[in-house]
């Protein structure tokens, strides 16, 4: 789950990384008591869970005279469709130079990967494409608690030495806060020292519990409901609902729909053990999306009991058509139960998907 900017900055601050003086406000009036401290010019930043908010008008400049009016303007906005409920008011920095620093999980080396460039402030993907030679990389062992000084020297090169402690502190955060991305862009030098002007932290979804995070904000309401049943669920924009067991098989089912010219409305992986009640919840959840005209159920596994699945589909009692492909134990009984109630049970995933695409065409 991605932390909001003010949350990420609090994490940095607690670890001893300097951040701009700032205040979180929930209305324009809340700005008034802070005007003195913020100084003559400051920045108002909408705290919304969406990328590219700057270009979408979510970051505005203000000063003592215009502050309240600009804040009101920002609170009245929708940023990429999202209402602005919180704004971070921050002192404007006297920036000398902008750097980029990040730590991610590197799949190839299976280790934390640190990236640093003196060309900060812009999107790292663009620098990576156009000037890869400007990005310095260091792979660190996940067994280290602190980075050895040579790694920090390799990273910062000729940049100011005072950046070194920031790098080690961010490394500690990366490990202790279960992050999969810890990024400071830009990390800036000012007359008062190094400051993290912006921060992005993504916490590992598999570690939210032990990090004390109870609600995953990155998920939609339906995705959260799916999570309570132990399903993986993703919303898409077609008409065919898809239920499978196993992420790979479910994805392959979506791809097959596209191959035959259709479009999936969602993706639901029921996971292991498809008992009738789980299947019922899965079918109902997928059917609750208004755009869904037909549902494909594609379940395979040596230990999946087809009669259980059939009972679940029947118990769901939904109005949309359900087309089923089942392979596992008790196939004959599952087929009998389904055909009794007028459901179609077909033999291969190609046939099932083709049929569903025909229905929605």
């Amino acid at each position: 789950m991605k932390l909001r900017e003010h949350e990420a900055k609090n994490v940095l601050k607690a670890a001893g990384i300097p951040v701009p003086a700032g205040f979180l406000i929930r209305s324009a009036d809340e700005l008034t008591p802070h005007l003195e401290e913020l100084g003559s010019a400051f920045v108002l930043k909408a705290q919304v869970d969406v990328g590219g908010r700057g270009k979408a008008g979510g970051i505005l400049m203000a000063d003592k005279a215009t502050g309240t009016r600009v804040a009101r303007e920002l609170f009245a906005k929708q940023i990429k469709g999202l209402p602005v409920k919180e704004v971070l008011a921050e002192q404007k920095l006297d920036i000398r130079h902008e750097y980029y620093l990040s730590i991610t999980v590197d799949r190839s080396s299976k280790c934390p990967l640190l990236l640093f460039t003196e060309a900060g402030g812009i999107e790292i993907e663009i620098t990576a494409k156009e000037h890869p030679e400007l990005i310095r990389k260091v792979v660190a062992s996940p067994l280290l608690r602190d980075l050895p000084p040579f790694m920090i020297r390799e990273l910062i090169g000729t940049a100011p030495k005072e950046i070194g402690p920031v790098i080690n502190k961010l490394f500690r955060i990366f490990i202790e806060k279960d992050t999969i991305l810890a990024e400071i862009n830009p990390l800036v030098t000012t007359p008062d020292g190094v400051v993290a002007a912006d921060a992005k932290i993504i916490v590992d979804d598999n570690a939210l519990g032990r990090q004390g995070i109870t609600v995953n904000r990155d998920l939609s309401l339906r995705e959260r409901e799916a999570e309570t049943h132990g399903f993986s669920y993703v919303e898409l924009d077609g008409k065919i609902g898809v239920i499978g067991n196993g992420a790979g098989l479910t994805m392959a089912t979506l791809d097959l729909i596209e191959f035959y010219g259709g479009k999936a409305a969602n993706f639901l992986d029921v996971g292991g053990g498809a008992e009738s009640e789980r299947v019922m919840h899965a079918v109902r959840l997928v059917a609750s999306v208004p755009a869904v005209k037909v549902i494909v159920v594609n379940l395979l596994g040596g230990i999946t009991k087809c009669d259980e699945v059939a009972k679940g589909i029947i118990a769901a009692g939904i109005s949309q058509k359900v087309i089923v492909r089942l392979a596992g134990t008790n196939e004959a009984e599952g087929r009998r139960l389904l055909s009794e109630k007028g459901y179609e049970m077909l033999d291969t995933m190609d046939i099932v998907v083709k049929k569903a695409v025909e229905v929605t065409a």
């Binding site: 999980v105 799949r107 190839s108 299976k110 280790c111 934390p112 993907e125 062992s141 996940p142 067994l143 490990i175 279960d178 999969i180 590992d204 979804d205 598999n206 570690a207 032990r210 993986s232 993703v234 898409l236 499978g244 067991n245 196993g246 992420a247 790979g248 098989l249 479910t250 994805m251 392959a252 979506l254 791809d255 097959l256 729909i257 596209e258 191959f259 999936a264 993706f267 992986d269 395979l300 596994g301 040596g302 230990i303 392979a327 291969t348 995933m349 190609d350």
Partner: protein, 292 residues
């Protein structure tokens, strides 16, 4: 065979749990069918002295090692205890460790894999179905009934999708040498490169089916690392960016790891990529036909 054969004694960590118990039964039914050793010992801290399907349970891996000849371990413990289990096994000297457990925090996985590497152990998974060499050994949860013995290796990031492919291959009369599920997490122990290296050393394996998905670039790394003939399938061509598609590792991030660019890179390297799973058997036959 790679990773193990009939003579490999297996240890199950988390033997007394529901999953552990269920799969010890299935693994040993398979071992009996092929005349293999199967699971010879289980480990659950505090449950030493018990038995599961006649398999003795020990408190620690080292205790089990003292009493039995063990070549590999399969882990069924909950996510919070799995990294510890990997490290305990590696420390005790087990060199092949299969971790079935899903939802392990990635920081734990990185540490456990780095530690296992130091101890000289290979970790398969986590978040994987394990491996099966037909007629020899099953370490994990794959449904053995779909498999047949032959000379095609299969490597996959998925579980059920692998069964689908194996089912298609078997129906088409194409047997498998070893099928390895390397796991759906972003950080996994054995990657395509590692398993392909083993297949290269394995005289039984003549060609490989490589099943990948969105996220990262381990598939391309693998395909360019070997001279073995490969047929590939990449799931997730319809996956939207920044959405996790069921597996923790199945996500297109920062415009990278999407299926289309993966497929393009594979093809550029001369690896045929199936558009549908059902096309795979015919493409494998084509590999053998042209002898390339």
């Amino acid at each position: 065979m790679i990773y193990g054969d009939k003579n490999t004694g297996i240890l199950v960590q988390g033997a007394t749990g529901k999953q552990g118990e269920f799969h010890i039964g299935l693994m040993n039914a398979y071992a009996q069918q092929v005349g293999g050793k199967g699971v010879v010992a289980g480990v659950t801290p505090g449950k030493g002295g018990q038995q599961v399907h006649g398999v003795p349970v020990f408190n620690t891996v080292k205790d089990a090692m003292k009493n039995h000849d063990i070549g590999a371990a399969v882990i069924f413990v909950p996510a919070g205890a799995a990294a510890d289990a990997i490290m305990e096994e590696a420390n005790a000297g087990i060199t092949t460790i299969v971790c079935i457990t899903e939802h392990i925090p990635v920081q734990d996985t990185m540490k456990a894999i780095a530690y296992a590497r130091m101890e000289g152990a290979s970790v398969i998974g986590p978040n994987c179905p394990g491996l099966l060499s037909p007629g020899e050994v099953k370490m994990g949860i794959m449904p053995a009934g779909l498999f047949s013995r032959g000379n095609v290796g299969v490597i996959s990031r998925s579980g059920t999708l692998t069964y689908e492919v194996v089912d298609e291959l078997t129906r088409a009369g194409i047997g498998q040498s070893t099928v390895v599920g390397i796991g759906g997490d972003p950080v996994i122990g054995q990657t395509f490169v590692d398993v392909l290296e083993r297949f290269e050393q394995d005289s039984q394996t003549k060609a490989v089916v490589l099943i990948g998905e969105v996220g990262g670039n381990l598939e391309e790394e693998g395909a360019t690392s070997t001279d073995l003939p490969i047929v590939s399938y990449i799931a997730g061509i319809s996956a939207p960016p920044d959405k996790r598609m069921g597996h923790a590792g199945a996500i297109v991030e920062g415009g990278e790891g999407d299926a289309r660019s993966k497929i393009a890179r594979m093809k550029k390297h001369g690896v045929p990529v199936a558009a549908r799973v059902s096309e795979i058997p015919e493409m494998v036959r084509e590999l053998f036909r042209c002898g390339c």
